[in-house]
């Protein structure tokens, strides 16, 4: 049986004593699932692994960059919409401006101020109360018929 030294030299196992690392390697090579690969294959595998990791990193970076640009675009759009919202609120306030409404009422619609021309009318509140339909509807009545002492309701 032989072992490979740290410098890659093959030498018989019986040439002990081995250095600690060489001993570890020797033990590893005795393992049943030890995969003995050619150095060139190992190198290629390592290169492939580095490439795969690099590619993964690049893909992630690219994805982050692209998402970031989308985020910036969304933030910009959000700012624009907020600005537009403020404009619309102001437009509403401008349209609701009392001086504007007053101007339209007076000069476009020909309206005039009421001034002191209010007339208050005495109302018999008991009549109003009796004319108010009750909130409940009698069971068995057809829809729309309200039971109560309201004459209009009784006619319907």
């Amino acid at each position: 049986m032989a072992v490979r030294s740290l410098r890659g030299q093959i030498r018989p196992l019986e040439d002990a004593p081995l250095r600690p690392l060489e001993q570890a390697r020797a033990r590893r090579e005795h393992l049943p699932y030890y995969l003995d690969l050619h150095p060139a294959v190992r190198f290629l595998l390592a290169v492939a692994l580095v490439c795969a990791v690099s590619l993964l990193y690049l893909m992630q970076t690219s994805r982050v960059a692209s998402e970031n640009y989308r985020l910036q675009a969304a933030e910009s759009r959000h700012t624009d919409l907020m600005r537009e919202n403020q404009h619309i609120q102001l437009d509403i306030a401008n349209l609701r401006s009392l001086s504007r409404i007053d101007d339209i009422a007076r000069h476009k619609l020909g309206m005039v101020p009421v001034g002191n021309g209010y007339l208050y009318v005495q109302v018999d509140t008991s009549v109003v109360a009796s004319a108010t339909p009750p909130a409940t509807q009698a069971s068995g009545s057809p829809p729309g018929v309200v039971v109560g002492n309201n004459p209009l309701a009784a006619k319907s």
Partner: protein, 585 residues
């Protein structure tokens, strides 16, 4: 190496070819020289200029942007927008890219119509600057911005957008609102007083940027988000404010007054419902105002001699101290001589006159009599309790304190007690007097006035809510009951008769004050006409003061201020749906 070079030169001069070894040496020498030069240059760049260059390099791609905070809006009590935000563009011209004289002339002719400017003036402006960037016009209108963007395709024009405050109702409530300047910082009024609440805190973003100015995703980045300003909801009702301003404008037009103010307050809470002043200004174009004194709110910031409206407080104090009652009768001459000065009533002598009649005819001699019955200590104690000569602590900037000479002051004399009794020799703000009379209207409680009802953050959460605050109790409710009837008498059959309204009991007191000269004494015919009152008298919905400076149609407040008071009161009865009592059509 020098020998090799000399040998090579010699060989060239003599026309003989160089040996390969010599050629290699020559090339080697050149490379060595180049390497030395590069090393030297690298030393200069990397060592000597390291700090400066690294700073420049960093600045080229790593910088900090300020993220402005959105300024809080201001709403009226019904949610109507009084102050909001918008954006505006400023127009710049890259003068370095603008060529010949004829090109500048053509640009001036092109820009003049959309900018509403004179082409010759624009040309002169464009001719003065030959390089750099020139700010040609700020705050473009939307139409102007659109047109300038079109023109920017063929001309070196640049538009820079910035936040701008907007007041959709123009001059409405301008003295209360104040304005935000071109840097969006509040000045005067609520904009100035609540700057910290409204302005918020700007954020910042420090990040590495690419050539296009975009943030590099995986680069260095630190973001401190801005804290937007809070919104203010006022106790002001925009509808009432509009009614008041319109009535004040009409009243000033009909009386020829130079200035005027109206304030309406809720007597039960101290909430200001409307506050109007004339002359006024448009906060959207505050920079066009030549006189900065136009921004001062006279209701809060300026003092005046109140004249006979002040008697309301004197009568109240006399009743409250029991020095007079509703049944007291006082006989007074037309004129009285006090400490060598003759003080007269406008009307004739009054005999066996009740306090109600005395206030109805605005009797100066009775006012002095009541003040003397009170004595100086009680008289000034009541004035102090009414808040006269003290800040009301309303949430508006620059409040005037007024001036009342106390008996302990050096300038005070016994005559002051008599003249103060009818509102002369003291200076107060209209708001102080209104706040004091509010105590008469609400049963004797002096309320602290306020304008901001609520402060909310951008998520609508309430940051603070103003609760009505009783500063102190000034009068007994029995006193205010009597005073209410006395003041109703002023309107029913006294100087306030022009405010008499069918179906409604209105309590008020008129005043006509002379205008003091800066050097002492009073101006000849100039007056300040005013009226203060509340309605409905038995359950007041509002307290109001109307003040007109230098009215021309009449010098009396009863002829000038009272009609404005009545006009507004009538509209408020309808607006608040106040039912008339004892109404007979």
């Amino acid at each position: 190496m020098a020998a090799i070079a000399r040998g090579a030169t010699k060989e060239l001069r003599t026309g003989r070819g160089l040996s390969p070894r010599a050629r290699v040496r020559v090339v080697f020498s050149v490379f060595v020289l180049l390497a030395l030069a590069l090393t030297g240059r690298l030393f200069v760049l990397q060592v000597q200029q390291h700090a400066d260059l690294s700073r420049k390099a960093e600045a080229a791609h790593l910088w900090t942007d300020t993220i402005p905070a959105t300024r809080g809006a201001i709403y009226d009590i019904n949610g109507g927008l009084l102050a909001g935000n918008t954006t505006a563009d400023d127009l710049y011209v890259d003068m370095g890219k603008l060529g010949s004289v004829s090109e500048r002339r053509r640009l001036a002719d092109l820009l003049a119509p959309p900018l509403n400017a004179n082409p010759d003036d624009l040309y002169i402006t464009l001719s003065k600057v030959m390089s750099g960037t020139l700010r040609l016009k700020g705050n473009l209108t939307d139409d102007q911005s659109v047109r300038m963007r079109e023109l920017a395709n063929g001309w070196p024009l640049q538009l820079q957008t910035h936040a701008k405050r907007a007041y959709p109702n123009g001059v409405l409530l301008s003295h209360v609102l104040g304005y935000a300047d071109l840097d969006n910082v509040g000045a005067y009024g609520l904009e100035g007083y609540y700057e910290k609440q409204l302005g918020g805190t700007p954020g910042s973003s420090t990040a590495e940027h690419d050539a296009m100015g975009n943030i590099i995703p995986l680069g260095q980045q630190r973001v401190a988000p801005p804290a937007d300003g809070n919104d203010l909801t006022l106790s002001i009702d925009m509808n009432v404010q509009y009614m008041v301003e319109r009535a004040l404008d009409d009243g000033m037009k009909s009386t020829g007054a130079g200035a005027g103010q109206v304030v309406i307050m809720d007597p039960h809470t101290g909430a200001i419902i409307a506050m109007a002043s004339r002359p006024t200004f448009d906060p959207n174009t505050y920079y066009n105002q030549p006189d900065v004194s136009a921004f001062i709110n006279p209701v809060v910031n300026m003092v005046y001699e109140p004249g006979s409206t002040f008697k309301t407080l004197v009568w109240s104090a006399g009743l409250d101290e029991g020095k007079i009652t509703a049944d007291t009768t006082i006989s007074e001459p037309h004129c009285a001589i006090k400490y060598g000065y003759t003080i007269c009533n406008t009307s004739t002598a009054h005999y066996n006159e009740s306090p109600a009649t005395g206030l109805a005819v605005s009797d100066n001699i009775m006012a002095m009599s009541i003040a003397e019955r009170l004595g100086k200590d009680d008289f000034y104690k009541y004035l102090q309790n009414f808040g006269i000569g003290q800040l009301t602590n309303i949430d508006l900037p620059g409040e005037g304190q007024g001036l009342v000479n106390q008996p302990s002051d050096a300038g005070w004399g016994p005559l002051n007690l008599d003249t103060n009794a009818f509102g002369q020799g003291i200076s107060i703000t209209p708001l102080q007097l209104l706040t004091a009379v509010t105590a008469v209207a609400n049963g004797g409680h002096l309320m602290q006035p306020y304008v901001v009802q609520r402060i909310t953050d951008k998520q609508g959460r309430v940051v603070s809510e103003t609760q009505p605050k009783v500063v102190r109790d000034v009068l007994n409710s029995a006193t205010t009951d009597v005073m209410r009837e006395i003041m109703v008498g002023v309107v029913e059959h006294g100087t306030g008769v022009l405010a008499k309204t069918k179906g409604y009991r209105i309590a008020a007191k008129t005043g006509t004050a002379q205008v003091p000269r800066p050097g002492g004494g009073y101006e000849g015919s100039a007056t300040i006409g005013s009226v203060i009152g509340f309605a409905p008298a038995d359950d007041p919905r509002f307290v109001m003061i109307v003040k007109l400076d230098r009215p021309q149609s009449s010098q009396w407040g009863e002829n000038t201020a009272v009609p404005i008071f009545a006009n507004i009161a009538h509209q408020l009865f309808v607006y608040y749906k106040v039912q008339p009592t004892d109404y007979q059509p």
